[in-house]
Subunit: 317 residues, 2 copies
């Protein structure tokens, strides 16, 4: 199997979005009038972002899901993506499963692979995604206002628990691990929720590095602080068997959840609950934005700040 | 230096092209009306696409140049790019030089970095670039016609000679090597030439894997064959000290030249020569397209086919 066979066999699907897709020096696309393009890129490295022995089907899913999650956080409609892929060798079974996982998610979102580059090298996956959003309506990090509710979608901490079980020996039962692993390996990007939040939320991002660290970005950009109420954090059900402090820390500071965190005025509460029901995604109010200097505090039931020991993941720390 | 410091220090420049650049979940851009987007991506892996000890300034240049070359081959105007970067460690001196080389070329083309991802991992650079081209006017691979002239820009073979000197002990004098290395390390994307060829050329691509292999893509897409005349191939001056067969093979089959190869009707000859003079890029007619089954033949002075022993580079061969 040479490079061109590999691309033709696994990464060339007939498309309808692009004017010209895979196979020339560049793809050609016609953006819809009145829309802004939202563009994001991620790079996943074996042994750092995923375990090298991970099921390639779920890896194909996840590689695209993390990018879809970025578009969800902007409220954008996914349109097309490119794939840059370094592989140690051309393994047909691996490629078949990887591409199947990637395309299954792409097709569920009407998203088209329009270009790529395939080379030999340490297993590394970089996807760039582009979506469209009506001009001026994207959900940014800097728009939060004092007294906004802080919301999160889904539950938090399961993905981080699966990582901690493997790397740090976190004592998770087999049953709990079986619940956590799919959250790590096949996160669900909240694309419909993000689109629905346009006009409702003042600010939004996706939780890739942990709620505390990611919410700090909204604080910094918005010039506000955030107060989270510990009792309201939607800790993943699978973590119920852990001690409460450990479970809460995983939920607050664990990465890889790919849920949305967003800020919205109290007047939008009912609309947000209705939207979430329509999208079949649970949402939870977990705190409020306040004046102050870009800090995130977590308050206990008495309203006192809890110590939080984990910070957002930093690749170069 | 943490991940956010690193991005702020080396990869955050004030821009004017993007509505929203580096720092949110996605960049926001407004494409110009009536234009198609041309999108391309490349991935460069240390030890495969470049020597690990390469000057980081030239590596920053080259990483972007190979993408600019793809847009040049489409006749597109470069607009913005994203950078996904895996680094073994955060080395300030390396990052300073790499980003300086990358931005020097970007700024020369009015090109803006709008997003990225930085992670720890084996040194890998993936850049995706986007440009604009008036709808329907992009230079494709499939438009060549029988009797079109085949042209190449610049000279060929110097970059491949520099690689062969290091990897295979090709006997190059120090003086010749000094001429070849800049062609390998800092190729010049032919952006203005590509844009000027819109309306003149029927087909175009850039020579990244070697003229023979790349021209074969035009043949396949256009349903034609190509006849090159060996005596007309613009072999790099620096290769004059090599035996003729070796020099010609490097020029025909060596990669990394990033010159343009294009097909155009005889009626466009004078306009092409004038355009090349205006762009200050030499161009040479090296053969003609003909009916036939997607083969590239190289003819000697007597019009007899020469054996050609090198094929285009295949990462999985």
């Amino acid at each position: 199997m040479n490079e061109f066979d590999l691309i033709a066999r696994y990464f060339h699907r007939p498309g309808t979005v692009a004017d010209l897709g895979v196979g020339d020096d560049a793809a050609l696309l016609t953006p819809a009038p009145g829309q802004q393009l939202a563009i994001s890129v991620d790079m996943l490295v074996a042994g750092r972002h995923f375990f090298e022995d991970v099921d390639p089907f779920t890896l194909g899913h996840k590689s695209l899901a993390v990018n879809l999650s970025d578009l969800a956080a902007m409220g954008a409609t996914p349109r097309w993506f490119t794939l840059a892929l370094a592989l140690p060798h051309a393994d047909a079974a691996w490629l078949e499963a990887f591409s199947r996982g990637m395309f299954a998610l792409a097709e569920a979102h009407g998203l088209e692979l329009v270009g790529g580059d395939t080379t030999r090298g340490p297993l590394t996956i970089s996807i760039q995604i582009a979506g469209e959003v009506p001009k001026g309506s994207a959900l940014l990090r800097g728009g939060a206002q004092a007294d906004d509710d802080i919301w999160v979608s889904g539950q938090l901490g399961a993905a981080a628990a699966a990582v901690a079980q493997r790397l740090e020996g976190l004592p998770l039962s087999a049953g709990a691990l079986a619940q956590c692993l799919p959250r790590l390996q096949q996160p669900t990007p909240r694309v419909a929720l993000g689109q629905g939040l346009r006009g409702l939320a003042h600010a939004c991002l996706d939780i890739s590095d942990g709620l505390l660290g990611d919410l700090a970005h909204i604080c910094q950009r918005s010039g506000l602080s955030a107060q989270l109420r510990a009792a309201t954090i939607p800790v993943a059900d699978a973590l119920a068997e852990l001690d409460h402090v450990t479970a809460l820390q995983l939920a607050l500071a664990g990465g890889d959840d790919y849920e949305l965190c967003f800020c919205a005025p109290a007047a939008a509460r009912q609309a947000i609950v209705d939207l979430a029901a329509q999208c079949d995604v649970p949402v939870t109010r977990v705190g409020r934005m306040a004046a102050g200097d870009a800090v995130v505090v977590v308050l206990d039931a008495q309203g006192l700040p809890l110590p939080t020991s984990r910070k957002a993941y930093d690749h170069f720390r």
